[in-house]
Symmetry: C2
Subunit: 171 residues, 2 copies
């Protein structure tokens, strides 16, 4: 009952539950527009749970940020647990000088991108306390997709356990 054909090409990234959880936690921690280094780190760590690329992380934050905002404006119930906008306090779009962009890999193409370092306003943030639920589901997925798309393990062997805590700098 192959969920995904073996030799097929990866059409579009399908994040695992763990990946989404981590990304959501990062977002709720205040991360809005991660740096190059941040995304690389995130991507590397999330790679433990299944195939992922840097551009996926980048896109995820783009979309999540945009849709979070959009859902705020539209009619909706009261915010159940509110949000920590991160940069919401004070500097409303000031002195942003950054760089980024990703590329496409549909036709099998590498992707690189970079983001300038912010000045001194960097704060170390402890992340990835995820020691909780590396479900068998995630384990299965990584196995299957690991073979499917040729994802190479970055930090760990296969299961995604025992990740060293990742420190990100919150702009």
């Amino acid at each position: 009952m192959e969920a995904v054909p073996v030799g097929a090409k990866c059409e579009r990234w399908n994040p695992t539950a763990e990946q989404v959880k981590v990304l959501t936690n990062l977002f709720r921690s205040g991360l809005r527009t991660p740096t190059t280094h941040q995304i690389q780190m995130i991507s590397a760590h999330l790679g433990a749970f299944g195939k992922i690329e840097s551009k996926n992380v980048f896109y995820w934050f783009q979309n999540h940020k945009a849709r979070e905002r959009h859902n705020k404006k539209r009619r909706r119930g009261p915010p159940d647990d509110d949000d920590e906008d991160g940069t919401a306090a004070g500097d409303h779009r000031k002195s942003r000088t950054r760089c980024f962009r990703v590329g496409c890999s549909k036709g099998k193409q590498e992707v690189y991108w970079q983001r300038k370092e912010i000045r001194g306003e960097t704060e170390t943030l402890e992340l990835f306390p995820l020691k909780s639920s590396i479900s068998e589901e995630a384990d299965k997925v990584i196995t299957v997709r690991g073979e499917l798309c040729g994802r190479r393990a970055l930090y760990l062997d296969a299961a995604g356990r025992d990740l060293p805590p990742l420190d990100l700098r919150l702009s």
Copy 2:
């Protein structure tokens, strides 16, 4: 009278007259959103006139297309010689499945990107008849900037002459 300090980092691309001319000609020939290969070729050839990167070409077309449109809508005189929008005829935003994006090189970073090939609607276009005016100005600029930013000659030696005609596929 150093126009640009030697060891300084290239802040932002400053196209030469020749580069702009070629780009404009390409645009007026109907090129709107060049392919990866197209941009690489264009960038390579334009590199003869001075420092340039692929992303510069990409951005140029982005901006030029956008601003051309914007100038159309805003109060302005009648279009002097109109435009050949390229994709303007018929398929008004249909079945476009593409990929692209560039990266930043402010902090010295490579940039790659790719664009999917369109189906069969590709037409070969003869370009770069530019055998006309390789002005001394461009020659000087390429010398200076060539040393400044470490641009490597891609196709030709130094002056930008004797370029083989470039064929682009017009979508």
